[in-house]
């Protein structure tokens, strides 16, 4: 998942970036409204966390610009003022939820995950496809009721596919979303990880939870 952090306070931004990375997100970050607006328009962002009070251009303006350009990724606003006026202004501009400062990271993470889940069309935190159950809150995966162990990257890969269940996801999209831009990109790596994931989810190869569409990408069935 590719997440844009738009926050001007360096300590807070660094802490958000680190903690989101720790939670398996691929991060883009910006410290002012102009840079942030550009990032949201140009990078393949899945979700953005936006502080409203930013230098050069306000967070509200950045959000409006994204929405005007047809960007529909969910946006969580961080606001220092806990007033409905501020919240309504943000949500009206096109944001999807808010968290007031000061906040705990768990709260922000939970909101971001809920936004991602909802933007993928899931109304429950528990994603199901075939016999696979993925709990976005606890990041646990069960196959036919039995918990299985996944590495962080495998989890991110599966979560991405399951959140977009029913859609065909290309290898290049997966590379883009799961690696930070300065990492080496190698689509073979994705194939290797898909292979490992299949072995863990479907050891005897009966259910085929991840379908391969030759030349197009992968798909998890939506129930």
């Amino acid at each position: 998942m590719r997440l844009l952090v738009l926050e001007d306070e360096p300590a807070l931004r660094e802490s958000l970036v680190q903690q989101f990375r720790g939670a398996g997100f691929t991060i883009d970050q910006a410290a002012d409204g102009v840079e942030g607006e550009f990032a949201g328009l140009e990078y393949p962002v899945d979700v953005a966390v936006v502080d409203l009070g930013l230098p050069l251009r306000s967070g509200l303006e950045a959000i409006r610009a994204w929405r005007k350009a047809g960007k529909s990724f969910p946006v969580l606003i961080l606001t220092a003022r806990d007033s409905w006026q501020e919240k309504v202004a943000g949500l009206d501009a096109g944001a999807d939820d808010y968290v007031t400062k000061p906040f705990r990271f768990e709260e922000v993470l939970a909101r971001v995950q809920a936004l991602l889940r909802r933007s993928g069309g899931w109304s429950q935190p528990l994603l199901r496809s075939g016999g696979v159950e993925l709990d976005t809150r606890s990041q646990q995966v069960r196959v036919n009721g039995a918990a299985i162990e996944l590495t962080a990257f495998e989890y991110r890969l599966l979560e991405y596919l399951m959140l977009r269940a029913g859609q065909v996801i290309s290898k290049s999209e997966l590379t883009e979303k799961l690696y930070e831009q300065d990492f080496e990109r190698d689509s073979n790596t994705i194939e290797v990880f898909i292979g490992r994931l299949r072995k863990k989810l479907d050891p005897d190869g009966k259910r085929q939870p991840i379908e391969t569409l030759r030349g197009r990408g992968y798909r998890v069935a939506r129930e």
Binding site: R81, D82, S83, W84, Q85, V88, L91, D97, A114, R118
Partner: protein, 451 residues
């Protein structure tokens, strides 16, 4: 002392004085003209009567002159009496004894049947009014002869009278003007008294000698004084609220601070031990800020149409509670507006609707109606927010409204929405009540009074 513009009273008095001066001058002038005209007409009548009397008593003398046979008017016989007469004819003229040595010198010689008035001066310079009448006398032999019959009267006594009238008029109008100006000055002072009172009361407020303006103002000022009082009350309430918030904030932060100090002194300041205290401080700050930061009422507020903010709130809440779809009915009387700070209104309605959303099962009804009373020129506002949740039991209601008000109460970040709404409402002299709604859950009724 800063330079000030002339006072209203001075301006009015100067303007009125000029106006009165002009009015008095015009009145005196027209009165005098009228009197002069009237007098002249009377003099003319007298002369005509004299001429006619002369003619009626006249007859042709042996020398062919026309002579009055007897002088009915004794003044004509007395020299220098001021009334003179003469009769001019082709064969000689006659002059009244009174005209002896007077130097009477009338010029008009009208043809028969014509008459002419003229002003002239005697030898001593005195002014006279003269009348010359041309007549044609029928002789016994059937022939005719033309004469001019003249009478003149001195105007000096009458001019003297006019001068007296003029002096009397001038004195009269000056006295009248002074009297009117004095009266106006008094009337102005009397009329402006409430303004002087307002000024002195405002100075008293500035000096801290009084808290608000007194009662019983004239209708023209009642709007201003009412608004000023509302402003003052609003400001005082706000100040009290800030003080209370500051006090509450300081006091409630002391406990976690003390706890942290103890932890530090004992060397037990591990993150795990400090975190709950930090959380508590964070909650306290958030909570107290929420209570303190609202605009408050004032006379300066303009009408807010409530439909749009309510719809914005519905949209915003639908996003925030995306996992909990709720049917929200907004019933708003068209054009409903109320003078309230937009931020305050969003905070009020936001807290009420947020609360309803939190506790409903799937339905919320918001009804906005004007709240009218005979005492108000402008209606107040009533907002009912109902939900289909479990409701709030009567014993809990007061506590819910007062949650988090006391400084020493342990503060949770949640559940203070209604008490915050109640505080904002009370800043607008409004009320918040909890009851049972028709949807089966709670009904929260907000009432903001009119003016």
């Amino acid at each position: 002392m800063p330079r000030t513009a002339p006072s209203l009273q001075a301006r009015l008095l100067v303007a009125l004085a000029l106006l009165l001066l002009a009015a008095a001058a015009i009145a005196a002038w027209s009165l005098e003209s009228w009197y002069r005209d009237l007098g002249l007409r009377a003099r003319e009548d007298v002369l005509e009567a004299q001429v006619i009397a002369l003619i009626s008593s006249a007859d042709i003398g042996p020398d062919g002159r026309l002579l009055p046979q007897n002088l009915v008017e004794p003044r004509l016989a007395t020299p220098g009496s001021g009334l003179y007469a003469e009769i001019l004819g082709a064969r000689g003229s006659w002059r009244s004894p009174s005209a002896l040595g007077s130097g009477l010198n009338l010029a008009a010689e009208p043809a028969a049947g014509e008459r002419r008035f003229e002003h002239a001066r005697l030898a001593d310079g005195s002014r006279v009014l003269g009348l010359s009448l041309g007549i044609r006398w029928e002789l016994a032999d059937g022939g005719t002869r033309d004469f001019v019959v003249r009478a003149a009267e001195s105007l000096e006594p009458w001019y003297g009278e006019i001068a007296r009238v003029r002096a009397w008029l001038a004195t009269g109008s000056i006295l009248l003007g002074l009297f009117l100006l004095g009266g106006l000055a008094f009337a102005l002072r009397f009329a402006l008294m409430p303004l002087y009172r307002l000024e002195s009361e405002i100075m008293d407020i500035e000096a801290g000698r009084r808290e608000r303006l007194g009662a019983e103002w004239p209708r023209e000022l009642a709007g201003v004084t009412g608004n000023l009082n509302a402003l003052l009350t609003g400001e005082r309430k706000r100040l009290e609220r800030y003080r209370a918030t500051l006090g509450n904030l300081a006091h409630s932060l002391k406990t976690p601070l003390a706890a942290m100090r103890i932890l530090l002194e004992r060397g037990q300041a591990e993150p795990a031990a400090l975190a709950p205290q930090l959380d508590r401080m964070q909650d306290i700050v958030r909570h107290q800020l929420k209570r303190a930061v609202f605009g408050g009422s004032g006379a300066t507020l303009i009408d807010l149409a409530v439909q749009e903010p309510l719809e914005q709130l519905r949209g915003a809440l639908a996003k925030v509670y995306a996992d909990k779809p709720v049917r929200v009915t907004l019933a708003i009387a068209p054009g409903t507006a109320y003078p309230i700070d937009p931020g305050d209104f969003l905070e009020l309605a936001g807290n009420l609707m947020d609360n309803a959303w939190k506790y409903c099962r799937g339905e919320i009804a918001v009804r906005v109606t004007p709240w009218t009373s005979a005492e108000w020129r402008r209606p107040g506002l009533a907002i009912d927010v109902e939900d289909d949740g479990h409701g709030i039991p009567p014993v809990e209601r007061q506590r819910v409204l007062e949650r988090g008000v006391r400084a020493d109460e342990s503060v949770a970040g949640q559940g203070i929405g209604l008490s915050v709404a109640r505080e904002i409402a009370s800043a607008y002299s409004g009320t918040l009540e909890i009851g049972d709604g028709r949807l089966g859950g709670a009904r929260v009724t907000l009432r903001l009074p009119g003016r």
